[in-house]
């Protein structure tokens, strides 16, 4: 099969959907003339023109709000945040407007829009540029939150997100844009809210999503050499969460490790842990372990990046720990 980059997969998804539906437009900083801060929207201005590929001033609150208003009046905006760190400037419009509008209006005004951009850490960028807000957005009813980890999922899920009539938060990574993966030429869609078993195993289930799942894959490879058979589930969507796929796997392996790049308090791991103990208590042979980031902002020095992020070793140790090894 054809192999393309993550950023190309995203671009194809937007291009294909924009060709299908003239109400879709892309708005954000540097998306048009600069071809995207991370070159996701390369060439889109040439194809669709400046009516539909719109550069904005650095005014996240304003352009997010304008997009919400446009969605209220029938358009289907794709809002690009240069990174989700900057979405905090706009978060009032995301939470108080986009997420509430359909219900507040008694079902009259839906919000067919996507807010997308990179999330989480991307090297030594310091505290203000290294944050993962997946669980913040996932906490809010009215939003859907998608966090793909590979080009195939990125394309199929972004197309679905664009067609969705509810507001979707779509979170990528600077460190994944160059990743290559197989993506078919033919059109396909991936449903929001469906996890996927990426690796079958019998001993321990690892649940993860987004860029950090690569740490789980690496750990699984190492563990396989030691005869430990790990099953890996890629959530792909963190609101809604596909609890059934997780529960089914836990019923088989009886052990669960969750790997998530997020601060530990009230994150996605916490939520999954609750639901698993509620629905599969009798199947658990060990306490669930989560592997998260440090409970701190991320500092600049390389030693901090290392201390902060979930590591292959931590995941391996956690897997062994739930196996009482």
């Amino acid at each position: 099969m054809r192999v393309i980059q993550f950023r190309e997969a995203l671009r194809e998804a937007m291009n294909e959907e924009m060709r299908r539906d003239k109400d879709i437009f892309l708005i954000g900083e540097e998306v048009a003339e600069y071809n995207g801060a991370y070159k996701v929207s390369q060439g889109m201005l040439d194809e669709f023109g400046d009516k539909r590929i719109i550069d904005t001033p650095i005014a996240e609150l304003g352009f997010a709000g304008i997009a919400v208003g446009a969605a209220m009046n029938g358009l289907r905006p794709i809002v690009e945040f240069m990174t989700f760190n900057f979405s905090l400037v706009a978060i009032d419009q995301v939470i108080n407007s986009a997420a509430k509008m359909y219900q507040m209006s008694g079902g009259q005004f839906n919000m067919p829009m996507v807010f997308r951009g990179p999330t989480a850490s991307a090297g030594q960028l310091g505290a203000q540029h290294s944050q993962a807000f997946e669980n913040w957005y996932a906490n809010c009813p009215g939003l859907k939150v998608v966090v793909p980890s590979n080009p195939y999922d990125a394309k199929g899920l972004l197309k679905t997100a664009i067609r969705d009539n509810d507001p979707v938060i779509f979170m990528e990574s600077e460190q994944m844009y160059g990743d290559k993966g197989e993506v078919p030429e033919e059109e396909y869609l991936i449903p929001i809210g469906k996890a996927v078993v990426k690796r079958e195993g019998t001993d321990v289930t690892i649940v993860s999503f987004g860029k950090i799942i690569k740490v789980a894959y690496a750990a699984a490879e190492e563990l396989a050499k030691e005869g430990i058979n790990v099953e890996i589930i890629d959530l792909r969507t963190v609101r809604p969460i596909d609890y059934d796929t997780i529960i089914e796997s836990v019923k088989k392996t009886n052990r669960l490790v969750i790997v998530e790049e997020a601060w530990p308090l009230a994150n996605i791991s916490t939520e999954i842990t609750y639901m698993v103990q509620k629905r599969a208590f009798d199947y658990l042979d060990a306490p669930i372990i989560r592997v998260n980031t440090a409970d701190t902002p991320l500092g600049y020095a390389p030693t901090f990046v290392e201390a902060f992020l979930p590591s292959v070793k931590q995941v391996m140790d956690s897997v062994k720990s739930v196996m009482y090894k």
Binding site: N85, Q128, A294, A301
Partner: protein
């Protein structure tokens, strides 16, 4: 003719030369991956900071965005401490926690480099508010870029700063571009300083390629602030010779445009004034330059020889409470 003294020019020369050589070295080290992350150079804009500092007192306050190396140096933070911060070493002015974008020094009244565009604008007003509250005579200079003035936070802060006569000088360093976006692509009103008019805030445009004009504008604004007449908004027109950050090839502008500004280089201008007035000989200026170069090289050596912070220091400085119960499992 100039109304500034030899001493002022010599100080400008040394300050701007230090900024220039320090950042040229920074660029080189970034290429060698000694410095990581986002790194934004100030080369070309030096007269703005130099002209500001000569018009202020040493207890006045400075706050800016992420393009902050020169501001940090001009506040008196040592080249060693700034370079070590770029390296992420524990001897850096933010202990390796901040990096290029987040230089800080309480001791030098430098309230930091800030990474969220426009985020520092209300902070600058707040710093000045605290001095006013205590009856102090300090003023705060709050820098921002031409891109930052499009943030809503500016308008809220401007209104309150004016309403409460806060002793803050808002300085827009208009270098023509916010990343790849020129000013004209973000507004119908090219005169950024006119944003002040909506709040009846004294405001004007200043040539930022010369330290003299910057000094005069800042001195006037500082006097107004110290008298209790509140804020000023200065649009200081300047230019960055390099790309937005180390990863920007700057294809959105022409070579001719860059060359045009280099012809008006602020550092060369100061050098020429000094020579024309025979305040120093070529040889003396070269000696001064060599001394500065030695200071820069020493800062590199200092940084190379400094250790990285321990990973465990990640849990330090998050709370001032000593035994905060972090979640560790």
């Amino acid at each position: 003719m100039t109304s500034f003294t030899k001493e002022t020019y010599m100080r400008w020369f040394e300050q701007m030369m230090l900024m220039r050589r320090f950042e040229e070295k920074t660029a080189q080290l970034y290429g060698q991956q000694k410095i990581k992350g986002f790194c934004h150079l100030y080369i070309g804009q030096e007269a703005v900071v130099a002209g500001t500092m000569s018009a202020l007192n040493s207890d006045d306050r400075i706050i800016t965005a992420y393009r902050d190396h020169a501001h940090a140096l001009a506040c008196g933070i040592s080249a060693n401490a700034v370079m070590a911060e770029l390296y992420g070493k524990v001897t850096g002015c933010s202990k390796g926690k901040g990096g290029s974008m987040h230089m800080f020094s309480k001791e030098h009244n430098f309230f930091g480099g800030h990474g969220i565009v426009g985020g520092q604008i209300p902070l600058g007003a707040g710093i000045a508010f605290a001095d006013m509250y205590r009856g102090g005579k300090q003023v705060t200079v709050c820098y921002m870029g031409d891109g930052a003035v499009r943030q809503g936070a500016l308008h809220e802060a401007f209104n309150m700063a004016m309403l409460w006569k806060i002793p803050v000088i808002f300085v827009c360093e208009n270098n023509g571009y916010a990343m790849g976006t020129s000013v004209e692509r973000t507004t119908n009103q090219m005169d950024i300083y006119k944003i002040g008019l909506a709040y009846d805030m004294p405001c004007k445009e200043v040539d930022g390629m010369q330290a003299e004009t910057v000094h005069e504008a800042i001195a006037e604004a500082a006097e107004r602030a110290r008298k209790g007449d509140g804020p000023t908004f200065l649009e200081i027109r300047t230019y960055r010779y390099r790309g937005h950050s180390m990863s920007d090839p700057a294809k959105y502008r022409t070579k001719e445009e860059v060359e045009e500004y280099k012809m008006r280089d602020p550092l060369e201008r100061v050098r020429k004034t000094i020579l024309d007035n025979k305040w120093a000989t070529e040889a003396e200026l070269e000696a001064a330059e060599e001394k500065i170069m030695a200071e820069v090289l020493a800062s590199v050596e200092f940084s190379e020889n400094s250790p990285y912070p321990e990973g465990s220091a990640l849990w330090e400085d998050v709370y001032s409470e000593p035994n905060y119960p972090f979640i560790t499992e």
